[in-house]
Amino acid sequence: MERAVHDRGGWPTDARIDQSEHALADWELLSDALVGALVRAGLMNVDELRRGIESMPPGRYEQASYYERWLYSVETILTEKGILAPGELDLRLGR
């Protein structure tokens, strides 16, 4: 079985690992708080968060930043549970 895109420990590469830090944007802080609130409310757990991230198409996974992956997962898990209707976020955002 081929390893999924997130399971990348030990992949041989000569490329340097990008260890640069960046200041967190407001939406990133809010994303963190949102997941914390969802977990405390019992609506999702960290293992579901991970599973949602791992379900991303490999191309999107590679392009997405850390908290973009969180948001993808939150939408996936909450839609799966019927807490969000399919396409509800896009509708609310007028997209």
Binding site: D7, G9, G10, W11, D47, E48, R50, R51, E54
Partner: protein, 98 residues
Amino acid sequence: MTHHVGERVRVATRDHEGHHRTPGYLKGRIGTVELVHGSFANPESRAYGADGLPEQPLYLICFDRYDIRPDERAHARDRIYADVYEHWLEKVNEQPRP
């Protein structure tokens, strides 16, 4: 707890459909139990909305870097540590290392 500190164990090589926490690069590798963390809810079922029970023992396993990938960058003293759940560990029949 099935395993004890100092015991040599092998990480199972089996595939797993769905979420699991066992890194692919450690599957089939042999390491040593460094620490018994205790028992924790199983993420493999918890990731799908279940309660993760029964709890599974979790161990800190120490691997020789050279055993994972025997290349020129592996220093003799380099180690890799990873947390692995008991149901991913197999007993190893080999003499303890001196």
